[in-house]
Amino acid sequence: MPGPIPAGRFAAGPDGRSGGPYARSSMDGDSSGGIGGDESAPGRRRWVPVLVAVVAVATVLAPMFGSPASDGFPLSTYPMFARDRGDDLRVDTVVGRDTEGAVVRLSPELISGGDEPVLAAVTVSRALAAGREESLCDEVAARVVDAGRTDVRVVEVVSEHHDLDRFAPDEPLSRRPRARCEVPR
């Protein structure tokens, strides 16, 4: 528990606020930083926290008045869960094929070089949009080799069609090949 208050050093002002003798002497020459730290003017300095609070809140709320889909960083409407995705999903991905031709799911690291699943899916979609599916296929095949995945013989960039109401992640309604490449051995 804190000890007693050294006289004349810590006591707050009569209204319970700072501005007593402790404040100025104890913080002189310190390096704790901070705005609104002018202890000698407790009345005047109240506008500083109010201004900071109003500006901070207005800044964070500002995206709310734009497009609900607007997104950014660090200010955002956090729209990722807001939009109705519907029950019909096309997801672009890269899969492997083993010697029997069966589909082998590849990891985000193999697909995009990073460990984020969302980024992996976005990477494939952007590559398809840019007509880069062949080069993406080759990149993934090279990573498959580097990872020592001998079970994967062929890499395919595909667009899968899913019925979300049916919810069968490994059984898409269709799987359309967009690019295909052999894994170099």
Binding site: S26, P49, A53, S76, D84, T93, L106, P108, G114
Partner: protein, 321 residues
């Protein structure tokens, strides 16, 4: 000034102990440092991304080409070092802004590859506030150089409440977006059910672990109406957390459970609120003393030579009457 505006100003500027703001400094900056270290392998993989994947946003929006690996490394190392300095409270006037700027740059760069993750937004905002306030007046190396820790003051109180305002504002914005974007469909749970199915199917498609219970949950579609309503109550009801200490605790508990629900149903980890660090400003905004007394005593012994103001800060007035 009278009425709600006066109550707001009184609440905002009510004094608080320096230790309370110091605790936030240690928790928030500590979280930031741990995030930088734990995510270092991920950040390293991002440096290998090719230039055509660069989609700059935020403060890097005007940067046409991704920064070089060497520059990224320098900024990350600077962020870690300045973050550690903020945690221990060393030269806060320099370390605080340095950490805020470098963390903003690192996280903006990390989000600039076609996907915004939304998991570090609030952390960055909190660090920005801590950077410009006297957060190292206690429990810090800066404080050890002084004879004593200052007593309760409004300048230790309002930063905590600004951080609390930021926390509830981010949830409120997300709630408004759901109403504006999803409309009535959000209320009946369809949008939420589709989102959970979408997220898990997409994860499975790229070979990432999906929720083990999503399939079962989606067969119980009636559950999604109360789940959606609960989500909106947490997000749109966030400002009520500022009314009293009781509503703050209730809301923080609900928000934490909300994020647990996101982990369970979509395997999406919002680690900042799940760690409770993001919610702590809301819990501290209404006064009371620093919890975890043993931890406090230990930190007191480590960082303080003098005695603190024995009288705890008077309880902050509530916004509610």
């Amino acid at each position: 000034m009278r009425g709600p505006a006066a109550r707001f100003v009184n609440w905002l500027t009510a004094p608080a102990r320096a230790e309370r703001l110091a605790m936030l400094r240690i928790l928030v900056a500590g979280y930031g440092v741990v995030w930088l270290i734990v995510r270092a392998p991920h950040l390293r993989t991002v440096t290998a991304f090719t230039e055509e994947r660069w989609r700059p946003i935020g403060v890097l929006a005007g940067v046409d080409a991704p920064p070089s690996d060497g520059l990224v490394l320098v900024v990350v190392v600077l962020a870690v070092l300045s973050g550690v300095a903020v945690v221990v409270g060393w030269r806060h006037r320099v370390a605080g802004p340095t950490f805020a700027v470098t963390l903003l740059l690192v996280t903006t760069w990390r989000n600039g590859w076609g996907q915004i993750f939304h998991t570090e937004n609030l952390l960055v905002l909190h660090v920005m506030v801590l950077a410009i306030v006297p957060a190292s007046a206690a429990w810090s190396l800066d404080a050890r150089r002084r004879a004593a820790v200052p007593g309760p003051s409004d300048r230790f109180g309002w930063p905590i409440r600004v951080m609390a305002l930021l926390t509830v504002s981010t949830y409120f914005v997300a709630g408004v977006a759901k109403i504006r974007y999803g409309g009535a469909d959000w209320l009946d749970g369809d949008v939420l059910a589709h989102q959970i199915a979408f997220d898990n199917v997409r994860k499975a498609a790229v070979g990432s672990p999906a929720s083990p219970i999503a399939g079962v949950l989606l067969e119980w579609r009636w559950l999604f109406t109360p789940m959606a309503l609960s989500t909106l109550v947490v997000e749109l009801g966030a400002p009520f957390a500022l009314l009293t200490s009781r509503t703050a605790r209730l809301w923080a508990g609900a928000a934490w459970l909300f994020h647990v629900g996101i982990v369970v149903t979509m395997v999406i980890l919002f680690a900042y609120p799940l760690s409770l660090v993001a919610l702590t400003p809301v819990l501290l905004a209404h006064g009371g003393d620093v919890p975890l007394p043993r931890v406090r005593q230990w930190v007191d012994r480590r960082f303080r030579r003098g005695q603190s103001g024995g009288a705890a800060a008077r309880e902050a007035p509530t916004l509610h009457r």
